[in-house]
């Protein structure tokens, strides 16, 4: 073994696929749900409450043989705004990106307004992001603002 410090991996490496790192520990299961990993058939590994220098604790997800479209991954930015996305090809890092908060949010968030039509009829809420810093979402239907502390996921 050479002198280089070998970092012990808490989650095994994957040959091909996507690693999603720096997920806030408490957002882990939201991310799984948003990306619909529950229905995914390839190997998915995840760990949470790992130590993180930057954030205290963090979660990590490794999805083998799957590369996501940026729009799909950007959906998780609402719960994991600092997540990094690492594409692995043949055990090597092929590309590293960070998530971005999209201009529009469809399907994944519920409108917080109990009197909104989306909570009464068979129609899904969709939103325009009016503030990317504080995360404020304007409902297309009732025009009310859903903010971080009132946000609920489907």
């Amino acid at each position: 073994m050479n002198n280089k410090k070998v970092k012990e991996l808490k989650v095994s490496a994957i040959e091909n696929g996507t690693v999603i790192d720096h997920i806030p520990a408490q957002a882990m299961f939201h991310v799984i749900r948003i990306l619909n990993l529950e229905d995914f058939e390839n190997m998915v590994m995840f760990a949470t409450n790992l130590e993180s220098k930057k954030y205290g604790t963090k979660g990590i997800i490794k999805v083998s043989n799957k590369y996501f479209a940026p729009e799909e991954l950007n959906k998780i930015s609402l719960v994991a705004p600092h997540a990094s996305i690492i594409e692995i090809r043949d055990f090597q890092v092929a590309r590293k990106t960070v998530v971005e908060i999209p201009d529009k949010i469809n399907d994944i968030v519920k409108c917080f307004n109990p009197n909104c039509v989306t909570n009464h009829e068979e129609v899904r809420a969709h939103f325009t992001v009016t503030d990317k810093e504080e995360i404020r979402l304007k409902c297309h239907y009732c025009e009310k603002i859903t903010s971080k502390n009132t946000m609920e996921f489907r």
Binding site: N113, C116, V117, E143, K144
Partner: protein, 302 residues
């Protein structure tokens, strides 16, 4: 504008709004014309709103249209559990235009997306009531001779009052200076102020009604509702502080007019009613002409 639903005031451009006001003037001169004889207007009021419903139905009747519909949901299939989607899809088969009032917010937008005929939103809960805004604009234009560069004071519940929100947004197209008078708890929300800031317009906030009287061209009064206060003592403290009284008229400009979306409770004292500066009842009448203009433009008759 043909076949274009009106859900929020912002659905129509400034030019389209001005076109409606211009046509409303023609209807004011000649409100009885048989130009809608071949049309059926559905008037779906899922909650009672006598004033708005009668104004729409009167507007349509005077143009010869047939009106179908209901004035409250209790005697309809809605009571049996029918979804709004099914009601709209069915009624769209029977009519050329649907006027809808519904307590569920966003219901009008949803209806406009599934309906084959245009929808006019006659109020969706606390969200939007765009024909009120059009008649407010018409009333301001008619009394002031212009919509541009006016000083408009909005008084009362600026936080929850949807008519205030839509009117502020609409006036942002006309270089208005806003004077906002409300208790601290009921200040205009940030989401509405954003529109004023985007246009770089001036706005001033006050807690005393007296402070704005000498500056204002239009005083737009609204009702403060008790249920808006978590602390009933707070309500008791402020409930009488936003009442416009005839004593205050001498402090106002010659062109000054008092408006109110109605119903009023006590926020404009009846002593004001006889003054030529009281405009709230004429304001309600203007709703008929504005709605005639809107319906005929949407149907492509005008």
């Amino acid at each position: 504008m043909k076949h274009k639903s009106l859900v929020s005031i912002n659905d129509y451009t400034k030019e389209e709004q001005l076109r409606i006001l211009e046509l409303a003037q023609e209807f004011e001169k000649n409100p009885v014309q048989r130009i809608m004889e071949d049309y059926v207007v559905a008037s779906l009021f899922f909650e009672p709103s006598t004033r708005t419903r009668l104004s729409f139905e009167s507007a349509a009747s005077r143009l010869g249209a047939k009106i179908v519909g209901f004035s409250e949901a209790s005697n309809t299939s809605v009571k049996k559990g029918e979804s709004l989607r099914d009601t709209i899809l069915t009624v769209a088969n029977y009519s050329d235009l649907i006027v809808m009032r519904n307590p569920i917010e966003g219901s009008a937008r949803f209806a406009s997306e599934i309906s084959s005929v245009p929808i006019i939103n006659a109020g969706d809960g606390a969200n939007q009531h765009p024909t009120q805004t059009l008649l407010d604009l018409y009333s301001i234009q008619k009394t002031q001779g212009t919509l541009d560069n006016l000083h408009v004071a909005l008084v009362g519940d600026l936080k929850y009052g949807r008519t205030v929100h839509s009117l502020v947004i609409a006036l942002c197209n006309f270089n208005t200076t806003f004077h906002l008078v409300s208790p601290v708890e009921l200040k205009l929300p940030r989401s509405v102020k954003m529109h004023i800031k985007e246009k770089n317009l001036a706005y001033h906030q006050y807690t005393e009604l007296e402070d704005v009287l000498p500056k204002s061209d239009v005083l737009y009064m609204t009702r403060i509702q008790k249920e808006r206060f978590s602390d009933p003592l707070e309500y008791e403290k402020i409930k009488n502080s936003y009442i416009f009284h005839a004593d205050m008229l001498p402090d106002t400009k010659e062109n000054f007019r008092v408006m109110h979306p109605l119903p009023r409770v006590n926020e404009i004292h009846t002593s004001v009613d006889k003054s030529p500066k009281a405009y709230y009842f004429e304001q309600a009448l203007n709703g008929v002409f504005v709605r005639q203009a809107l319906m005929t433009l949407i149907l492509g008759i005008k």
